[in-house]
């Protein structure tokens, strides 16, 4: 092996290490961004080295060079523009799109390369099948999130039978390629049936489950890239592909766990109707946004000012000690914390005071309605713990049971997190419009358990 080849190989190894290190750093909020940069640096190096290989080898035809150059330039520009322009909320569908083209590229490699060995034939077929399936599946997933394809589960008549048929076709084509040197047309046939299967698998899955599906397809792309690596006998492709394949699989499991949905149930489809999770409390309630304790903890830890709004649910759960422990954890992390106490929160006058005094909340942090309301607009997070009526914006309108009652203006805070067990009503027995406010996220939990999770989260994820 020439010195050049040796150096190239070692550099590829370095790049692979950068990918691993990058993913490693991306496990924690504080280092995540640096992780992505390390990974990107590795990628840049890999591309440069490959360019050197091409130049040094001098085997590339001018047309191929042009096709490669133009394609790369155009693709890079398209990717950059899309990534820069996209709104925050539309990022997931864009990631899915990027995943689709990645899978597509992997599949095209196998279509373009003349297989040199049985090994290359086998891995090539796998590459084409997985890549094509990912391509179409990711496109559908992206379309669902973007609203171009309806987000609700679409049931294809006889979908299972069609899938089975497609699988048989793909298998036959694969056998033709490997066993009988079926060549490019059999490969193309396999690709077409995989494309169809990708569509068919993704359509029945509801919009709410899409993030998990995209993660799964991402893992598939990784595997396809590894297969392409086998076809081309390229170590960096094999390592990076395997890395993403396995990491993506674990991540998919974590995501499904966080949503409390088994992956099998997700793939079976039929669940999730929109881009948010709707939990019906009674008739006519609008969809609400749910949040996990982990996410809420990070949001709190990275806030500058947090207002805790306790209500009857805090008393019912006897969670006063946990609430104060959370406030202490946040305070010691540099967050400004106050408690806003509504005059009729709870079930007796001064109910919240009794609880908070028991848990030793400092008197200086207790504010009544007049003190706390003007400060909500400069509050990053209003954390509502088991309070309901005393935060209901309906009080500002006449004609309902809470009309005319002064409320805590939590809806004027930059964001609101509400801890309660369900969308159940409070004492006044009416829906709370706060919960469907776009700035509001619901943490459905018993107040004590929820607060314990937040305390653990804040200490785990706060640097």
């Amino acid at each position: 092996m020439s010195a050049f080849d040796t150096v190239v190989h070692l550099i590829y190894l370095l790049c692979a290490t950068a990918f691993v290190l990058g993913l490693h750093l991306m496990n924690a909020p504080a280092t995540a961004r640096r992780g992505n940069q390390v990974s990107a640096a590795g990628m840049g190096l890999a591309i440069l080295v490959t360019l050197a290989v091409l130049i040094q080898g001098q085997e590339i035809s001018p047309y191929a060079a042009w096709a490669l150059g133009l394609g790369t330039a155009a693709g890079a520009v398209a990717g950059l523009v899309a990534a820069r322009r996209v709104r925050m909320t539309a990022m997931p569908q864009l990631v899915s799109l990027f995943n689709a083209v990645g899978g597509g590229a992997a599949a095209l490699i196998a279509l373009g390369e003349r297989p040199a060995s049985t090994q290359a034939e086998v891995t090539g077929v796998l590459d084409v099948l997985i890549g094509a399936l990912t391509f179409s599946g990711s496109l559908i997933a992206s379309g669902k999130l973007a609203g171009r394809v309806p987000g609700r589960p679409i049931v294809v008549p006889y979908g299972r039978w069609i899938s089975l048929g497609l699988a048989v076709v793909a298998a036959v084509m694969a056998v033709l390629v490997v066993g009988f040197d079926g060549g490019v047309w059999a490969l193309a046939g396999a690709a077409v049936s995989a494309l169809a299967a990708g569509v068919l698998l993704t359509l029945p899955i509801g919009g709410a489950d899409m993030p998990v599906v995209i993660s799964l397809l991402n893992a598939c792309t990784g595997t396809a890239v590894a297969m392409a690596g086998f076809v081309l006998e390229s170590t960096p492709l094999i390592i990076a592909g395997a890395l993403v394949g396995a990491a993506g699989a674990i991540l998919t499991k974590l995501m499904a766990d966080a949503m409390n949905r088994p992956i099998s149930a997700i793939m079976a489809g039929g669940y999730g109707t929109g881009d948010a999770i709707a939990v019906a409390a009674g008739a006519g309630s609008a969809p609400v946004r749910e949040i996990t304790a982990d996410d809420a903890a990070i949001q709190l830890a990275y806030a500058g000012r947090v207002v805790i709004v306790p209500g009857y649910g805090l008393a019912a759960a006897q969670a006063q000690h946990e609430a104060v422990a959370l406030a202490q954890a946040l305070t010691s992390h540099g967050v400004e914390v106050v408690y806003a106490i509504h005059p009729v929160a709870g079930r007796m006058p001064g109910h919240m005071n009794v609880l908070l005094a028991e848990a030793n909340a400092p008197y200086e942090q207790l504010q009544d309605l007049e003190e706390s309301n003007p400060a909500f607009p400069r509050t990053d997070v209003a954390l509502v713990i088991g309070a309901n009526d005393v935060t209901n914006p309906a009080a500002r309108r006449p004609g309902n049971p809470v009309s005319g009652m002064p409320i805590l203006d939590v809806d004027r805070a930059r964001s609101v997190i509400v801890i309660k067990r369900s969308l159940g009503h409070g004492y006044a027995g009416i829906d709370n419009e706060l919960y469907s406010d776009p700035r509001t996220a619901m943490l459905f939990a018993d107040a004590k358990a929820g607060l314990n999770a937040l305390v653990a989260g804040v200490s785990a994820y706060a640097s």
Partner: protein, 94 residues
Amino acid sequence: MSPLLLADLTVFTLGLLVGFEVISKVPATLHTPLMSGANAIHGVVLVGVMLLAATISTPAGYALLFVAAFFAAMNVAGGYVVTDRMLAMFRSRS
């Protein structure tokens, strides 16, 4: 099986093991950025497309090459940038 294939398979297996181990308990907030970051990494397929280019010499091949390069480059460039934008939210507290 060829020794080369075996070596590749070894590398593949170890890659899988690294992948399994590298993801530890991640806060849910990082799930999407992490997925996006992993997505960017398989943009390494661009390296594959570049290597492929050396073997291509038919018009159909050029077309295929162009599309593959376009796809792969989009994956790489867009993937890293969009991940970075997501992660920008985690810069230290204001």
